[in-house]
Each structure stands twice: as C-alpha cells, then as structure tokens.
Symmetry: C2
C-alpha cells in the first residue's frame, strides 16, 4: 500500500453505508481522499506521515448542517422569547440593514469556529455578503454550499439587483477554496419573491447548472392568501425541477409531499428553530413515507441559539416522537443518516462526502467516548444521538486536513475570533 498522509488506528468506525460498526478499525487518508477503511491485515502495515490513536473514540462522517445563516451568530440571544414578527421587524431586520460585509465576515468566522468545535464539517448557508462567508469557509478549512439571498419585498428593482448579485456569487465562488465551496442561487421564499423574479431565478439556475436553496412552507400564510400552496406555486413556475434544498417544510398537504417526492426536492428539517419560534412541526415520518430525502439543519443562531448538530439530532427525533405519539419514530441510526449521507445528497455532494468510504473526500469526526454521560456504551447510535454533546468532539478532518485535534483548532485563533465577533456585535448595536 502507498504511504498515507493520515492514519487513524484502533478506532470504532461508523461508515454509515451499513449499520454494523467496524471495531478497532483503521482509516487511511491521502491527498484529501479516504484510501482505506476497515481492519488492516496484520502483515500489511500502513505507513503514514501522521498517525492518530483512535482508542476510546468513534469515527463518524462529518456532520452536515443543511440550513443556516451562519453570520447571525452576531445576533445570538439578542431578542428572546418573542413572536416571529416582533423578532424580525423590531430587532433582526433593523440590525441586518446596518450589517456591513466586514461584520458578516466576523460573524461567519465565529460560526465556523463553533461548527468545527461541535463536529460539523459542511454547511449550507443563505445570507447577504455571502462572499464574506466564503472567505471565512476558506480560512477555517470547512466545506460549504453557499447562496447569496434574493428577495424583492415588493420592489422588482431590488429583486433584479439581488438576483444579479446571487448569479455573480455563483460565477465567482462555485468551486472556490479548492472545491470546498459550491454555490446555489438563494431565493428567500415563495412569499418574498414574485412569480416573475422566481421564473428568472429558475432560468438562471438552469443556465448556470446549479441548484436552489429556499425557505419552504415555514408558515400557512401563503396558502391562506393565494389558495395555492407554496409547493404548488413553485412547481407551477418550474423551480422544483431544479435541484432544490427546501428548509423547514412545515405546512404541507399530502399532495405537496407527493410533489416534493416526484420532483426529488430535498427537505431540511430544522427542529430547534421551529420549536423556539413556535413555527410548527414538520411531518418527517410522512415525508419519508413519500420517499422525500430529509436532512437536518440548525437554522441561524439567532433562533436556535447554537450551531450544534448533535443537539439538533436529539431534538429532531424527540420532536417527532412526541408529535406522532410514537417512541419508535426516527430511531437513532436514521437520525445519524439524516445528519450525514442525507445531508450530502441534499447538497448535491453524495459522491464526495456523507459516508466513510474509500474514494470519498476525507471529512471525518472523532468523538471521545470516555465521558461519564457516555458510559456505559450499550448502543453507539443511541449514544451519538441521545447523549453526545458538541463538546465531546475531539478531532475534525475536512478534505483530508486536520482542522481540530484534541479540541485545538488549527487555522483559526479562537480567542481573536470570539473577541472580534463580540466587538462587532456591540458596535452594531451602537450604530
């Protein structure tokens, strides 16, 4: 065997291609790719630049946060326990109007740091000044699928301008950071973009060959107003024929679910934010029955208030169990699939990431299992979904690069990132 860059040894591995774990296995990484997974034959010692001891740890595919607005770390805890409209109109929108690209960058860096420290290796983001998010992603070493948001709020001039910016972003940043960044167009929602604008977005997506990141059915208002569901409306326009990443998916009829399934739309279930804003509960069991690919997201930190995907995994299944009145709904293995391979599919990256397999890019997280709250270890999937916290993540590897080892982050200065974000947030409030 050729010499590897990184060799993780003596580790429990959850490849997420099947349920049975590999016990005391090895993972070899070279040129950013996984070149070996399994139990190495005793005679065939793998040589490597860097060896990592996996004893007492479990290796899982890096978690994928399929819907967030990462720069909103700046607004974490700024307007709590308020109704959605008050929250948006009195606090979030006025602050966002004052945001400069440099602020977005500071917020994004903080978000990237938080994600690395809690085992997320890839995220899908939609916001303003997305080029600054791309820069933070490049610097931190993470992988991301980014979209510059588009809305018109009654002004077709604004809509056109935002569409041009979103298209420009795709042209400049799709493939950025050695291919770790890919780009989508980001129409905010059916209710915030008119039919004409959405048609143009659809054409541009087709021309650019990229997908679309959109908020879908987060409330019932659209259907009440237009007697047509958001899904039916978007389908009529043709949007759903593109590769679509649809966040929330709360208020869906059976017919809506059928359409989402037919059009292969990817649904992002966002349980914490949906609970915190009391938006509603996605019918994940039904979506899955219809064959819709469902993955997980945290939403922005202003409505969560963390980017911790382990927490989101736990909430994801707890909320489904109570909503369906059935403790067997969404068992732990299924939830971990949602946070890994389903996320990869939803982001159009299933050839590259989402499992620990030979040939895939090396996006790997090592979780330390030697903790009181993870003892005894009867069921590794239950442990990961019901007991592990982000702080149990020991090591994070993205694209074959070590971003964190034994909780030491490599490419970001943790104190400086926190200090700058804190200052930016205070400054924003005083503007």
């Amino acid at each position: 065997m050729e010499k590897a860059d990184i060799l993780i040894e003596n580790c429990m591995i959850l490849p997420m291609t099947r349920k049975r774990p590999i016990d005391k296995g090895s993972i070899a990484v070279k040129d950013g790719k996984i070149i070996f997974v399994g139990k190495p034959a005793k005679t065939a010692k793998i040589r490597a630049e860097k060896k990592m001891d996996g004893k007492g740890k479990v290796a899982i595919p890096g978690l994928i946060n399929a819907h967030t607005h990462v720069s909103m770390t700046l607004f974490r805890g700024i307007a709590e326990d308020k109704p959605l409209n008050t929250w948006l109109k009195e606090t979030i929108w006025p602050l966002e109007a004052k945001l400069k690209p440099e602020d977005t960058y500071k917020g994004a860096l903080l978000g990237c740091l938080e994600m690395i420290k809690s085992g997320t290796t890839c995220f899908a983001d939609m916001y303003f000044s997305e080029e600054m998010v791309a820069k933070a992603v490049e610097q931190s070493g993470l992988r991301a699928v980014l979209a510059e948001g588009i809305f018109e709020a009654g002004s077709s001039f604004l809509g056109e301008k935002m569409l041009r910016k979103s298209v420009d972003f795709v042209r400049k940043f799709d493939g950025y950071a050695n291919g770790r960044v890919t780009a989508l167009l980001g129409p905010h929602a059916a209710y915030s973009c008119g039919e004409k604008l959405l048609k143009k977005i659809c054409c541009e997506a087709s021309r650019l060959g990229v997908g679309i990141h959109i908020h879908l059915a987060e409330s019932e208002e659209f259907k009440q107003k237009y007697r047509l569901s958001e899904v039916e409306f978007l389908d009529k326009i043709g949007i759903l024929e593109r590769h679509v990443l649809a966040a929330h998916c709360l208020y869906l009829s059976e017919n809506d679910m059928h359409i989402l399934s037919e059009r292969k739309v990817n649904a992002v279930y966002v349980p914490v934010s949906n609970m915190k804003l009391a938006s509603g509960t996605a019918k994940v069991k039904d979506l899955m029955r219809f064959g819709v690919n469902v993955c997980l997201g945290t939403d922005g930190p202003a409505s969560n208030n963390t980017l911790d995907m382990f927490e989101t995994m736990k909430m994801a299944t707890l909320l489904q169990k109570i909503a369906y009145g059935d403790p067997t709904v969404l068992p732990a293995y299924k939830v971990l699939e949602m946070a890994t391979i389903n996320g990869a599919k939803a982001l159009g990256l299933s050839e590259k990431i989402g499992t620990i397999e030979e040939g895939k890019r090396a996006d790997i997280v090592l979780v330390d299992l030697l903790r009181p709250h993870l003892t005894p270890l009867h069921d590794i999937y239950a442990s990961l979904v019901y007991s592990v916290r982000g702080s149990d993540v020991d090591t994070v590897i993205v694209d074959g690069k070590i971003l964190m080892e034994h909780r030491q982050v490599k490419f970001l200065d943790e104190d400086a990132v926190m200090e700058k974000a804190e200052k930016t947030a205070l400054n924003l409030l005083s503007r």
Copy 2:
C-alpha cells in the same frame, strides 16, 4: 468582616432573587454558608483561605434535578426507540430484578459524577437500595432528597415490605451526610400502589413528618380504568395534604390542576423523557396559571439519556413553545427559576438553597462564558437556557465545599467510576 473560606471575585452573579445580574461581584463562603454577595466596598477587602477568579464566568445557584432514578445510568442506551411497555417489560424490569445493592451504588456514583460535571448540585431520587444512592451522595459531596420506592403490583405482602423499607430508609438517612441528604417516602404511583397501602404511606409520612415523591398522571390509563383521575384518587386518600413532589403531571384536567394548586403539590416537569417515550406534554403554562410550583427533572438516564439539566432547561421551554404555539411561553428567566428556586421549594429546601443569598448554604455553580457558542453575550439568561451545555460548567460548590474546579472533580476518581460502572453494566447483562 470575618475571614471567609472561599471568595469568588470579579464574577457576574445571578442571585435568582431578582432578574438584574450583579456585575463584577463577589461571593464569600464560610462554614458552608454564603456570608456575602454583592459588590464589596473598595475599602473592605475580604480575606479568604481560597480565592477564585470569576472573570469571564457567571455564578448561578446550583441546578436542582427534581426527579430522577440516578442508578439507571447503568441502562443508558440499552433499549432505544421502543414503546414504553416493551421497554419496561422486556428490558428494564428484567434487568432491575437482577440488580444488587452494589450495582445500584456503582450506577449512582456514575450519575453523581455526571451531575457534578454538568452543574447539578442537588437531586431528588426514587429507586431501590436507596441507601446505596445515599452513600454515593455522601462520597461525591452532592446534596440529595432520596426516597426508597414502594409498589405492590397486586401483592399486599410486597407492598408492606417495601413500605417498611421506605420508612426504615427515612429513619436512617434523613439528615445523613451532614444534613446534605433528606428523605421522603416513595410510593411509585397511584396505579402501582393500592388504596390501603397509600393510606398507610400517608399515615407514616405524617408520623415521620416527611413528604412524598410520586409519579403522577404519566399516562391516561388510570382515569380510563377507574373513571377517577389519579389526582382525585390521591386527594381522596389524603396523600396530597402531605408535602408532595409529583413527577410528570401530564394528563390533568382543570379540576386536577385546581386541586394541585389548593394542596400546594409541587409538579416536576420532565420534558426530555416525556418526549423520548412519547408520553405526552405537560401543560406548564396552565399549571403556572393555577399557581402550582413547577420545577424540572431529567428522569432516569435510561429514558433521556443524560442527566444534563442545561439540556433539560432548553427542551423545557422549546416543548412548551411548540405545544402552545407561542414563542413567548416560558421565557429564559422563568426556566432558570424552575431549575433553581422552584426546585428548592419543591424539595422543601427553599430556606437552604435555590438562590445565591446571604445566609443560605453555598451551592454555587460557575459557568465559563468564553466559548464560541456563548459569544456574543447579549442576554445572560438566554445564554444559560438556549446555548450553555453541561460541559461549560467550570466549578461546582456544594455546602461550601468545592466538588469540581476547572472541571477537575475532587472527591471521585473519574476514570475508576466510569470503568466500574461499565463493568457492572456488562456483568448485569451476562447474569
């Protein structure tokens, strides 16, 4: 001022007697008691044996977990995503039948370790071989309110025997460990103890001058069977005239809530377990409207699967918000009250703990705020409820003794406790 044993300086303090935090304050502790809280006058320097720097930290009253079965750490993750009856009958009860007192002790030590590491300073427990839990509490330095469980399962002989054991436990352990342990009688539930037995328990509680810890209205079965609610039934017997700690409180009519309020019954809201087992959702907003004191519990780790009260605080408010469809329900400050002073009231300890006040016992937790997921700090209560994880707890003081400092636990050997619990759990499975 006299010399203190411990002095915490330069710390944000949330006394929980009022909402406004004390910024850069000091707390002085002597002989287990808080002797000063506030901003010390510049001239009056407090001398102390041990000084602690509170910079970048917040001091809160130790969290109170008002309902758990702590030895069930041994069963963490052992039977996941199963219906309640299957879970109990096929896994939990057969294993519990094999439990020896020594096993209970090992499980309790692990639970105590986990609680210290996540900021819980006091817990209410109900289980078998509760004397072993008392020993683990003494050894770990925690505070606890313990009850030996009583049920009869159709056999009045068994019921009598368990009642005697529960009474014996109170006689021997009320006031144990320098007063850190107090005792209650522990009738399991209205459906598992008959009327005659419950009447005897009521008399014994009255004679001993102690309260009662019971499961209440965790399902609808009782009412369907007897056309009388569990609350009405217990009230008829006179149980509710005692000091009662009632866990779950899910299926309550308005009349039930009225009775609980009149009888000053303390309700323990157990959101994570209720969601995981799909038991139902407590109507906390209504309970509070009726004036019932509501506090928080994790339940046993087999149905949670952690003892992390920070997680329970977050789930507590998220579940209420989605259940009532109202994001303003249970704001963060209220939730922290539930986990501190309301818990103290429910456990009959509000004279001693639950707030940071001069004259109270020193049960204090310092949380490290210099973390990416806690930055920026716009709202300390939102931070504690929506963002802090158990792993952010830096220091834990109980009864004036430091149980953990900078995450180093003092009176328990962390590795040994974990190893012994792991071995015990495996051994239990092989019996």
